[in-house]
């Protein structure tokens, strides 16, 4: 082929590097603008050091302190950036084009950090599990490496070991998630994906109770996650082949045909639509996997069920926020020129996701699986907003994510409270009469379920309304109708749980509701508060999301 025959192109690589080393310019990193991520990663590293240096007894407190402080500081940094107009007028691309600092990025980072803060509370909860050998224990295995039910495990339990490593793991994951929606090139995207995925794989495997299931969840999540990131990576390769660059701006320019001088040598690859379309589809698939869209959703129920519940809550809330952020940026920054190609496809995905999530959830018998399917259906609703491809689309998705993540977190936090001898009692039949036994817990969970169902005066309704409104304005009226139909189906199973909790007689051998410490209580309280505030007076947050609705390119 002719392109290869040109020697100048090939050798210029060598000559460039060899001849002018002094031309190499040190990268210009805007540390201030990257502060949120850096703080979290820094805290994570401190956490690792704590594991290495502090005695076992002191670790829990130190880790908790570090995590909370780190996340709070990072959140403060986000606020600082937002106040400094980095979300609007001063939006820019930092770190040599790798990371965008703009409205959506800051909004999502803020959301992720708040969610993580609440998640830390649930991670740190030590009042729920019965006291083992004089030690208060949390939801995580005493020693993850020990064989379940083996002697090593018993000893570890006796010695009062706890896996305080979960805090740095969580922080690393948060670090990755902060980068993910802000990533402005495909390399950063991929790295961020792996940075937050790998700790999650490990976290999944760390349940104290029902360890076999937990390990199985980890294996499934890991294998499928790796499988999907391979696809993502191959997609990145193809896009790189198409555009000759991995930065979003450059790819978008090529897509838009703004890069005029395509050298004949690159005619085979550069601007080859097949590469673009296949590559784009594969990258999309990688993101849709994280979102849990049908047909890439099948890991969700198993992993949500098997993982320790605090992890599930964190995963369900934060991962979704991060992944949708990345998806939005990809579709709105990289591929807007291609929207006539991806919109119909995404239509299909959104419809299938909404319907399948809602329909399959109808016959679920485990609370965590039920919530998993519900999260799939919600992914479909959010996709409807993504498809709107207008400014309202972005802001409505941002708002929805904020609303949804707190409801999810709260719901899973409630799940941790309902326990019997075998740990958490997640089978729905055991929840019969829960609302009568513990009216407060029942009522709180009912509030979350109603928010999921999108009943007015809850955040779920405001979010759903925003998303559907954007979709209708973006010309996706049919999606609204499908969304409404699947909402109706979804309402059925949320209501089924409420029926079970309030209208069934409590079983004598039913689970008890553990009285949580202030940590989980505050997590749940925050969930309820956000749910109601965003439901009753959402205007401020809608404005916030609206202001944050513009991507930098």
């Amino acid at each position: 082929m002719s392109a290869v025959a040109d020697p100048v192109t090939v050798h210029s690589l060598w000559t460039m590097a060899a001849e002018s080393p002094d031309k190499f310019k040190a990268p210009d990193i805007e540390y201030g603008q990257l502060a949120p991520t850096l703080i979290v990663i820094g805290a994570a590293i401190v956490g690792v050091l704590i594991e290495a240096l502090l005695p076992r007894k002191a670790r829990y407190g130190a880790q908790l302190f570090t995590s909370v402080l780190g996340i709070a500081a990072a959140f403060a940094a986000v606020i600082g950036l937002a106040v400094g107009d980095y979300g609007t007028s001063k939006a820019r691309i930092a770190a040599e084009g790798a990371i965008a600092v703009d409205g959506p990025a800051l909004f999502l980072q803020g959301t992720i950090l708040l969610v993580s803060l609440v998640a830390v509370f649930t991670f740190a909860e030590r009042r729920l599990d019965p006291v083992a050998h004089g030690n208060r224990v949390d939801s995580f295995a005493a020693q993850a490496a020990a064989v379940p039910g083996g002697d090593a495990e018993k000893e570890a339990t006796k010695a009062g070991f706890t896996t305080t490593e979960v805090f740095p793991l969580l922080l690393f994951a948060v670090g990755g998630m902060l980068v993910f929606p802000a990533a402005n090139d495909l390399l950063t995207l991929f790295i961020a994906l792996e940075v937050f995925s790998l700790p999650l794989y490990v976290l999944c495997a760390l349940a104290r109770r029902q360890r076999l299931v937990s390990q199985e969840a980890a294996v499934k999540y890991f294998l499928l996650g790796a499988f999907s990131s391979a696809f993502l990576l191959f997609g990145i390769a193809l896009l790189y082949g198409y555009a000759g660059s991995v930065t979003y701006g450059r790819i978008a320019d090529v897509v838009d045909g703004e890069v005029a001088d395509i050298t004949p040598a690159l005619a085979q690859t550069m601007g080859n639509d097949a590469l673009l379309l296949i590559g784009g589809a594969m990258v999309l698939m990688g993101l849709l996997f994280k979102i849990g869209a049908v047909p890439f959703h099948m890991w969700t129920p198993d992993v949500y069920q098997g993982a320790p519940t605090p992890v599930t809550g964190f995963m369900a809330a934060a991962t979704k926020v991060a992944a949708f952020g990345a998806l939005l940026r990809l579709l709105y920054v990289v591929l807007p020129g291609l929207r006539w190609d991806w919109r119909p496809v995404m239509w299909g995905v959104a419809i299938v996701t909404m319907l399948a999530g809602a329909i399959v959830a109808v016959t679920q018998t485990d609370v965590k699986r039920l919530l998993a399917y519900s999260s799939i259906a919600h992914a479909g609703f959010i996709l409807a907003g993504v498809i709107a491809t207008n400014e309202e689309g972005v802001s409505s998705v941002l708002f929805y994510l904020g609303a949804y993540s707190f409801v999810t977190l709260g719901a899973f936090a409630v799940v941790t409270l309902v326990r019997d001898a075998g740990g958490e009692a997640t089978h729905l039949s055991k929840w019969a009469g829960l609302g009568r036994r513990s009216p407060l817990v029942g009522a709180v969970f009912a509030v979350f379920l109603l928010a999921f169902a999108g009943i007015p005066l809850t955040s779920g309704f405001a979010g759903k309304f925003a998303v559907f409104k954007a979709a209708a304005e973006g010309g996706a009226g049919a999606l609204v109708v499908v969304g409404v139909v699947s909402s109706a189906i979804a309402a059925f199973f949320y209501i089924r749980v409420i029926v079970l909790m309030f209208f069934s007689e409590p079983r004598a051998d039913g689970p008890t509701v553990a009285v949580p410490s202030v940590l989980t209580s505050s997590a749940i309280a925050i969930g309820v508060a956000v749910t109601l505030v965003l439901g009753i007076a959402p205007q401020y947050f809608l404005e916030l999301a609206g202001d944050a609705g513009v991507f930098v390119r």
């Binding site: 009469g433 009568r436 036994r437 513990s438 009216p439 407060l440 109603l450 169902a453 009943i455 007015p456 005066l457 309704f461 405001a462 309304f465 925003a466 559907f468 409104k469 209708a472 304005e473 009226g477 609204v480 109708v481 409404v484 139909v485 909402s487 109706a488 309402a491 059925f492 209501i495 089924r496 409420i498 029926v499 309030f502 209208f503 069934s504 007689e505 409590p506 004598a508 039913g510 007076a537 959402p538 205007q539 809608l542 404005e543 609206g546």
Partner: protein, 544 residues
């Protein structure tokens, strides 16, 4: 700024709900009194609103309040009432104290020794009595707000939100009478509650799609979307906002579907018999006399005001469905074995009349329909509450279990009969006037439909009298012999309702005065005039 009267009227029961919920578990009686007190306070506020309302005013909505709420959705917290709204607010506030009083013992723990196991696992934290009354007050607050809202979105919010407390009322506090065993009762009750919720939620969600559509349409034409009824009306009048025929029809159908479920209109009615059958009588009254009125009210205010052309387009079909409802509901009522289900089907028949009146698009029809909402509320409350007293005495809902009650409890039987006679629209009692107005209004435009609907009055007599005959007359059945007559509390509930039925039957002017201007305005919105009589005798009269 003037005192936000409507908000206060809605907030009073909401505060009451919180207050009742906060009453400690053991002090059930206190909770009841608190509930009654707040419902009476609401009644006072509603009465003030009725007095302050000026029927002769030119403003379409009075007692208005307007505050920013969710600017991003184009939503404002806008309240205001026309004559129809204020009357229905009054009806709601009026009926709830009776509902509370009638349900005085409905949420008490079962009389027998409570199941020890249940008692221990619930730790006494379960407070059904407090919950029951708090939920009733919640429903009241939301219903009042949906009558008073003049913003489509605001209305929708409460239209949907009221389902939740209603759902708990149905599913959580069912009628203990009626089924073979506890298990069956619980199953049937939660089936009824779920059916209620799903039907209404499905209707509401379809309406949601239409609400969003309305926003998109207004946003297209006006620059920014709005839900304000007045703003939309003004924009339409000035031609700023024009909705294409097809869009208008689709949006209309979305709205109408939700209201038709709520009202309920055949064939979307099947949730009502279950819901009314399984819930306690006061809750059944709340459903049919208060909550369902939001549906018919909304047809009048939202369907006709927002989509006049589409309303006219759909009229023939709706009229046919309404007539089917009338006859079908009545015939099914005749075929029922369960007292409460019978009343439920009778209500379906009556809702058919209301919808008929609304869509006949004549001033008599619509005045009649509005009046019907009020009268049906009172008459069904009277009949259903007495039926509830009856059922609570015998512990059965089956008609066949009764007989000869008038012998042992003549006052109960008498009040039951009066409730029944009101239901069959006996002249002299309030429902007659509204039913006749609806029929006249329909007949003057659609004679055939008017005549068929008139047959409904025979069927109404049939189901009421058959019910009365089987339960109250004849030899005293076993299980009825020692039935006590109405107690003081029960009389307090029934007598004022009956007095109102008689009063409004003889002198409905206070109500018609309120609603008449609003009806005229509605008709001018849909641009319909009453058909003129062949020989306008009144002109001759006037000349004399």
């Amino acid at each position: 700024m003037s005192f936000p009267l409507l908000t206060a009227t809605a907030v009073a029961p909401a505060v009451g709900a919180v207050a009742v919920a906060a009453v400690p578990a053991a002090q059930r009686t206190l909770a009841k009194w608190v509930a009654l007190l707040f419902s009476l306070a609401t009644l006072v506020l509603a009465a003030v609103a009725l007095v302050r309302f000026d029927p002769d005013s030119e403003d379409p909505y009075q007692l208005t309040e307007s505050h920013a709420w969710i600017a991003d959705f184009g939503v404002r917290y806008e309240l205001g009432v026309d004559g129809i709204g204020v009357v229905l607010v009054g009806l709601t506030a009026l009926l709830v104290p009776f509902v509370v009083l009638a349900g005085w013992h409905d949420a008490d723990p079962p009389a027998g020794a409570p199941d020890a196991a249940t008692q221990s696992v619930t730790h006494g934290r379960w407070r059904p009595t407090q919950g029951f009354f708090a939920l009733i007050l919640m429903v009241e607050a939301m219903v009042i707000l949906s009558f008073a809202a003049t913003d489509v979105f605001l209305f929708y919010v409460f239209f949907e939100a009221m389902l939740i407390p209603m759902y708990f009322l149905i599913g959580g506090f069912g009628d203990r009478a009626g089924h073979k065993n506890e298990q069956e009762t619980a199953t049937q009750r939660s089936y009824a509650a779920v059916k209620f919720l799903l039907y209404n939620l499905a209707g509401g969600l379809i309406m949601l799609a239409a609400v969003i559509g309305l926003y998109a349409v207004t946003a297209d034409d006006l620059g920014s979307g709005t839900f304000s009824l007045q703003q939309i009306a003004e924009a339409r009048a000035s031609g700023e906002l024009s909705i294409s025929t097809n869009t208008e029809r689709l949006l209309f159908l979305g709205f109408f579907f939700a209201f038709a479920v709520k009202a309920p209109l055949w064939p979307l009615h099947t949730w009502l018999p279950n819901a009314m059958g399984e819930s306690t009588a006061p809750v059944a009254v709340l459903i049919t006399a208060v909550v369902d009125k939001v549906g018919t009210f909304a047809m009048l205010r939202y369907c006709l005001h927002l989509f006049p052309e589409a309303s006219k387009w759909a009229t023939p079909v709706i009229l046919v469905l309404a007539v089917i409802s009338i006859l079908y509901g009545a015939l099914l009522a005749v075929g029922q074995r369960d007292i409460k289900r019978l009343v439920a089907y009778a209500s379906i028949s009556h809702f058919g009349f209301i919808i008929l009146g609304i869509f006949a698009m004549t001033s008599q029809g619509q005045s009649g329909a509005t009046l019907y909402m009020v009268n049906h509320g009172i008459s069904t409350a009277a009949l259903m509450l007495v039926a509830g007293f009856l059922i609570s005495r015998r512990g059965s809902r089956l008609i066949a279990d009764y007989g000869g009650v008038q012998k042992v409890a003549p006052v109960l039987a008498g009040t039951f009969l009066i409730g029944g006679l009101a239901t069959l629209s006996l002249p002299g009692l309030a429902p007659f006037i509204s039913e006749f107005l609806v029929l006249v209004g329909t007949f003057s435009r659609y004679p055939a439909i008017g005549i068929i609907a008139t047959v409904g009055i025979v069927l109404a007599a049939l189901y009421v009298l058959v019910l009365y005959q089987r339960t109250m007359t004849g030899p005293v059945k076993a299980g009825v012999e020692n039935m006590p007559d109405l107690r003081a509390r029960e009389l307090t509930v029934v007598v004022p309702l009956i007095a109102l039925l008689v009063f409004l039957g003889v002198y409905p002017k206070p109500v018609t005065e309120m609603i008449d201007p609003a009806v005229d305005r509605t008709l001018s919105v849909v641009d319909k005039q009453d058909p003129k009589p062949d020989v306008p005798v009144q002109d001759v009269e006037a000349a004399k």
